[in-house]
Symmetry: C2
Subunit: 305 residues, 2 copies
């Protein structure tokens, strides 16, 4: 029967000020999802890797299986699927861990059935998986599917833009050993935004689009300034101010919380600078243990391996 | 003694969703400001052209003279200036009428003293003029000084970006014979923004930056959708919904209120399309008289003539 294995990279949701709007795919770490189609209509799931013991193996509650099933249903495939998820990303780390499994399930189904990534169908099916755990947001799903810096203009109807990234910048992602649930990280945010914050945030997001397109690191460093989510969410991350200061002092061209945290990301001009930032950030977490990943911006999203 | 005359083009403040953040310079109509420096320290102003009878000729209350004086003071010029303002733009039309005079005063002083446009000093001096009538906003001053599509990231400290515009698009600007004061058009706006609007507006502004940079008219048409100011301010503009519909039906790639109104603008792919849009919009105003200007995006802002 047909089968496929895909790798889905990590992603920085929001990228600072771009709350629910921007996402950036980062290579070198991610989830690996395999699918094997079979005649029996039953779906099954196995899971290995990071946080595997916390991932449901009931196919109706596993995001990869739900996303794969959503894709297969749209394609009117009547058989079942055996899915294996090899988690590289933590579940609640803020690096798009659950979204990567969702995208992986849908993308693996797409490659198995059609030998290609049917991008919009994969995105819609991955949304069905994500809806199980964190609502209908594209900020990780989109960059993890299309790669690079991705802009969500609208979820329903689906409207997005692959934004240009001129330089081969890297990111350092440092995850402290504290747990922040996506749901509680959302509930801490206010539903009303003051006009001054609204205006500054729009300006910063617009400036970031230009900074990535032109490779203007000095502008990115000024514009990657989140006035909305970071002030609230940093209270959930011990030593955040010290960690951010350490990243900027080490030469980062932009540092904030990745997605809903607790991972803190720093953009840097190249691999060496990213490693310097990552080391400085890990030190600034003090007695709190942390894990660091450094990787380049992923030019490609979900890919067959 | 030294003298200079400058032309300052019209401007579309906000450009739809970019409230207080984006501005777009439009050529072919604007204010013309002349300055003649003299030894006597007294400043004087004369005014001709559109709405001239409503423009103060007291040098401490005339925006062009105040802006020129602010520039001259920074340059430590101790003499006086005789200024003439030839208004091409209406005072409260929503095409940057008062900002054009402010920029003109400062720019004329810059050319007269230094034979060049000292951009940041001109912007700061023009802000002093604008503060007399509508507060410290750059959304018209910036594009009128540097041309094209301009992004204000911060007023204090001054931080802005000249954004790339790939295509030679035109605009139709249709001004109905109703008066909307900038101050009342601001007071109608809420000081708190709902999160859903905040997110959509950020996404649209980001998408517009990309659409202008790449010439993607289809994306611009979707993204030029102002969820914040337009719903409130359109109540001050009779027949606004009909006028917008007429512009979009006539092929516009984006239509909204220019600045605080009452001018309605439509972006179009070329001169012929802009004229079609302008005619359709003027007809849609029905029995309300209007004036129409069609012009290309101004690649250059304030210039010596």
């Amino acid at each position: 029967m047909k089968s496929a294995t895909v790798f889905v990279p990590a992603s920085i949701g929001n990228v600072g000020p771009g709350f629910d709007v921007l996402g950036l795919a980062i290579d070198g770490i991610g989830d690996r999802v395999s699918i094997e189609l079979r005649e029996s209509p039953r779906d099954s799931v196995t899971v290995s890797g990071r946080d595997a013991e916390q991932v449901p193996t009931d196919a109706t509650r596993n995001v990869a299986a739900v996303a794969a099933r959503a894709f297969l249903d749209v394609a009117k495939y009547e058989g079942g699927a055996a899915i294996h998820v090899e988690k590289g990303l933590a579940l609640s780390g803020g690096m798009g861990g659950s979204a990567a499994s969702s995208v992986g399930g849908a993308a693996a189904a797409s490659f198995a059935l059609f030998d290609e990534l049917r991008v919009d169908d994969v995105i819609r099916a991955a949304l069905a998986g994500e809806a199980l755990v964190s609502g209908r947001h594209l900020d990780n799903i989109l960059p993890q599917t299309i790669g690079g810096l991705a802009l969500t203009r609208s979820v329903d109807p689906l409207d997005y833009v692959a934004l240009p990234v001129r330089e081969s910048w890297w990111a350092a992602l440092v995850t402290p050993a504290v747990r922040v649930e996506t749901r509680s990280a959302r509930s801490i945010l206010s539903m009303q935004i003051e006009r001054a914050v609204f205006i500054e945030q729009m300006a910063n997001v617009a400036a970031m689009v230009h900074a990535f397109a032109t490779g203007d690191g000095a502008l990115l460093r000024r514009a990657l300034d989140d006035r909305y989510a970071e002030p609230a969410r940093k209270t959930l991350i011990p030593h955040f101010d010290d960690v951010k200061r350490a990243a900027l002092d080490a030469g980062s061209i932009g540092c904030s919380i990745s997605g809903s945290g607790p991972t803190v990301f720093a953009i840097a001009e190249n691999e060496a600078a990213a490693r310097r930032c990552g080391d400085a950030m890990a030190r600034a977490f003090g007695s709190i243990a942390s894990t660091t990943h450094c990787g380049p911006i992923a030019r490609e999203g979900a890919r067959r391996v």
